[in-house]
Symmetry: C2
Subunit: 235 residues, 2 copies
């Protein structure tokens, strides 16, 4: 049975890394003594080792030991044998490129579908959707495909940002960008604001946190979803 | 001799489409009675016809007739025979995909290098660099390559946006994204603020408009460039 947390962000402005969601993670990973961390998204270009160290410090607070996938000789075995898996944020193009390069995109999807508890934040959440095509990230590397894990039957836009009132900037708003996606694709897109996450238990998908999320569907007006909304039938 | 204008944006907040730059365009296209418009980037998903109509209305003010490339049976001949060429903004992934699909990326580069006057705004400016990898756009379609026209020996970030002070949003700033690009690429990136443009005359590249631009180079501190800065030696 799938057991997944898909979070908009790792951190809130007023709080340390993973702090706001740590009680939820304690429950989510209650059967895990160790966690496999996938640091491929490398926020700000930091190294796999530095990134894994940061994650280790956060999970030490709930007594879970963390090992980075780069520390294993064989990344496929690392995934197969993991008690739980966390993919952190950073650059989604880089993350997806590395998952394909190491030939673990499909294996990771299968492993999580078969029940290994998973956490994604930001880029690590983006890849839970059908494709990475609603990422906010810059295309700093060229991935072999935009297809991702497909753990849920729609796409995500993490760090969803409402239009800034009275802005004079002429660059597209997030909503405009997602509408452009829907000019060419019919996959629903959920804009997850920072502090929201999706809980996936088997086939049940629930919006968690205190904030509303914004749902975009092709040829429909965008709508606001309340916390605890059931998204199991969205596709 | 190359004769190119590469603008951050088509429009300023207080002004109609192309209004702020129209006097410059009148001089730039002074030998053109007609202009070939490339509407492939389709901002907000509007049609090629709608987009071309909007551009026609702006250029009518300086007595230049506009024809969209989609109106020609053969896009290659349209480019070869053009008096001047304008590529408008919208989604860079879509624009680049269409340029490759219609097999005109290389021809467009050669034609502009051989002297056909060119104007790019936003996505149409992004493609003037070596690659589209510093675009702000969402990857709504999968292009066959990120390589672009290479009319200048560096990359651009149009609509460059300074960090918003006191923002509590945790998504990456534009500067952070460009730094991530430089973790994997050594191409310089010029952040062009809205209202700035580059003028390319032969091999001379000059920053125009009233604003400073922000230059990012690998392993260097970002620097602010004054209007009229000479960028001919940047690479």
């Amino acid at each position: 049975m799938k057991s997944i947390i898909i979070a908009s962000t790792s951190s809130l402005h007023a709080g340390s890394y993973l702090e706001y969601i740590l009680p939820t993670l304690q429950e989510h990973f209650k059967n895990c003594k160790t966690l496999l961390f996938i640091p491929y998204a490398r926020p700000g270009g930091i190294s796999h080792t530095e990134y894994t160290q940061k994650v280790s410090e956060a999970f030490a607070k709930i007594n879970i030991a963390v090992k980075g996938i780069h520390e294993f000789e064989n990344p496929e075995n690392a995934i197969k044998n993991a008690e739980g898996i966390f993919t952190g944020g950073g650059n989604t193009f880089l993350l997806v490129t590395q998952l394909y390069k190491n030939n673990i995109m499909q294996l990771l999807a299968e492993t999580v579908k078969n029940g290994t508890p998973y956490l994604g934040t930001s880029a690590g959440s983006n890849i839970c959707g059908l494709s990475m095509q609603t990422t906010n990230d810059m295309p700093i590397v060229y991935p072999p495909s935009f297809q991702t894990l497909g753990l849920i039957p729609f796409n995500l836009n993490p760090h969803y940002l409402d239009p800034i009132e009275q802005s004079t900037h002429m660059g597209e708003t997030r909503e405009t960008r997602i509408k452009e996606f829907h000019a060419f694709n019919n996959i629903p897109v959920l804009g997850l604001r920072e502090g929201s996450w999706l809980e996936v238990k088997g086939e049940k998908i629930t919006l968690k946190g205190n904030l509303k999320a914004r749902l975009f569907q092709q040829n429909k007006t965008a709508e606001e979803l309340e916390p605890e909304s059931d998204l199991s039938n969205l596709k």
